[in-house]
Symmetry: C2
Subunit: 256 residues, 2 copies
């Protein structure tokens, strides 16, 4: 059974793309077959696997227009067991074009349902920092939404908008959508971070991943080498934390 996971938060710069790259890398390292789907017109996930968006002829844009499938546009990466369905900036126009079409939110879900299930164990979708049709497609298709969140003033305030979005999607297109919060870029030396972490733990105990990703400059560097941190700096704390997240995710997904 393929698990379909969206990584989204309208707040910008909270490590959505970094999480897709390095969580994807960790899951592949643990023997799962993983498809990464880049739904951001900035194509940062595509870039961080060494693929130049401007050279691509087949991207997820065709899948959303119903002209192709994820399997057809996906390609192998430098990491065994980790494939990518890439993006380029064509996706920008799509956001507007799709909006008027009947049932546009279900495009991705329909494609994933048709995909032969034994192909991938896990699909991870990287979303842009916006409320648009691309994120809506991902949430309609997803079993689980991972919301990366920083321990910063704005981040906690905009969580409510994410929760509103989840209940809207549950009502309209995907009643079984569940979500989990992931604390990223935590700086334990920063007193605001420690304070807000305590607040988040008190307010959302049942939906928070135990694993926390701390701030680590190697996570900034790894995309420049087109590698997840588990390959770029395999013996570091950041690699260990994303591996721990992969394990916690697997036990959350596996019915006991």
């Amino acid at each position: 059974m393929t698990a379909v996971i969206a990584v989204a938060n309208n707040k910008g710069g909270v490590a959505k793309t970094t999480t897709c790259l390095s969580l994807g890398g960790s899951l592949a390292e643990q023997g799962r077959s993983v498809l990464l789907v880049d739904l951001d017109p900035q194509a940062h996930l595509t870039l961080s696997l060494g693929v130049k968006p401007e050279t691509l002829r087949h991207t997820v844009a065709e899948v959303l227009l119903g002209q192709s499938s994820l399997v057809a546009v996906s390609r192998e990466t430098a990491v065994d067991g980790l494939d990518l369905a890439p993006a380029n900036r064509e996706l920008v126009v799509l956001d507007k074009v799709l909006y008027g079409r009947q049932g546009y939110e279900h495009r991705l879900k329909r494609d994933l349902d048709e995909m032969r299930y034994q192909l991938y164990d896990i699909v991870l979708m990287d979303c842009p920092p916006a409320f648009g049709t691309l994120t809506l497609n991902a949430l309609t298709a997803a079993d689980l939404l991972i919301i990366p969140i920083q321990c910063e003033y704005y981040a906690v305030r905009s969580l409510q908008q994410m929760f509103d979005m989840v209940s809207l999607v549950r009502r309209k297109t995907n009643p079984r959508l569940s979500y989990r919060l992931l604390v990223t870029m935590l700086d334990v030396r920063n007193k605001i971070h420690r304070l807000l972490l305590r607040q988040i733990r008190d307010r959302f105990p049942e939906v928070l991943f135990q694993t926390i990703i701390q701030v680590d400059t190697r996570l900034r560097e790894s995309p420049a080498f087109a590698l997840p941190v588990t390959r770029y700096a395999p013996r570091t704390r950041a690699a260990r934390q994303y591996r721990a997240l992969a394990q916690e995710l697997i036990s959350y997904l596996s019915p006991v």
Copy 2:
């Protein structure tokens, strides 16, 4: 003559909102009358001035629909000389609604042209991290675009998309749009930051602000106290750097 400035970058989390808040605060401190315009559906600029978006009945959404004006929706803040035209999440729907309407990109410009010029010296518009109609409205109305940029791998790559957007806007709706890059969140201890800063200085010498904003936790804290850093921590490096930016901006805007 009012100077209209957009602060935009599709890359998320690069300090667009932080810059509007503290640059606005610095300009007001130096005796200018400033209007901040929040164009982000997350309403972080509105939040960071202590205004609760969910309590608002009049926001920029009405201005963009042609039902009201910036002057009518704007309100005073705790800072002398700093007014705010607030946002709430109604803006989300607007992005789609506006798209189909004839000449939708010109709504904000038309309102600013009608605003009696002697009201404000400077208008600063905070944009969401997206390519949508809200950012397009701001770029059509703006004299100057400030692009905050971090010294990170993704940030430099997505600059090209911002430059493409500027040339599109110059061709279609606003031939006189100029832009400036502002390096934010610089951590001088980080070798990648220092390396990328050198690259940015080499590649874009003529459009880069001399002033650089370094990483400083007080910039994270100030929004929680509904104040720009110049009021929250007036004697710190962060306050000095935003004051220096305000002065550099004024000399850039003033014809010699």
